[in-house]
Amino acid sequence: MSTMIHAVYPVNADDYTCAGEASADIKRKLKQLGVDSKVLRRVSVASYEVELNLVIHSDGGELIMDVDEGGVTLISRDVGPGIPDIQMAMREGYSTADEEARSLGFGAGMGLPNMKRNADDFSIESEVGKGTCITMRFNLA
């Protein structure tokens, strides 16, 4: 299927001021394409969560969006500590966020479960000491 949009957003570690800007732009682009509002909401929630994870947990990374006729693919790739126990990280309420993130209202341990719930397909790969890659697919009905 041909790619309609390909966009790459660099996301900096610990940059809480700009956090959410990539997701806002992703939402704007999809809205312009006329994507259904329910799908748009699901993509927005998942992209914001994954963007915040890059800010909170990684040493920096990027968010990539590809849109084709069948749907939206979001890929988050980072350099960072990686996730030692993915099964544990996927549990609601489990978080390793630091004090700064928690004081801002993050670190509720909802990020990864929220992404999985909102995406039609969700996969996560991580290598300790190297980084994490999350791929999500949202079907356009």
Binding site: S44, Y48, E49, G105, A108, G109, N114
Partner: protein, 114 residues
Amino acid sequence: MKVSELIPLIQAEYMTPSVSTDKEITCGYTCDLLSWVMAHGDEGMAWVTVQTHMNVVAVAMLSEMACVILPENIDMDQDSLEKAEEEGLCVLKSPLSAYAICGKMAAAGIPAEN
């Protein structure tokens, strides 16, 4: 109920004067954990929170909420207010507690979910 009608009901001060208060509120919510709000936020929501930083604006905008309400006269950062105006998000500040604000919204018929 419109945002303009909610303002007197909760004795609020309107913090984003360049944004129209004509938006319809369809449900109400209170929570300070942003990830939790991302999971439960909805279109047309009036969200009561003590958080005042930039990410509040991002969460409210991404969920297409009607307004953000700061309880107990908490002030929002100037940067966040500017961002809210830029994005067209209504921000209200009320002297009442989050509990009292939600009580008044519920009594006025605003439901917990759409």
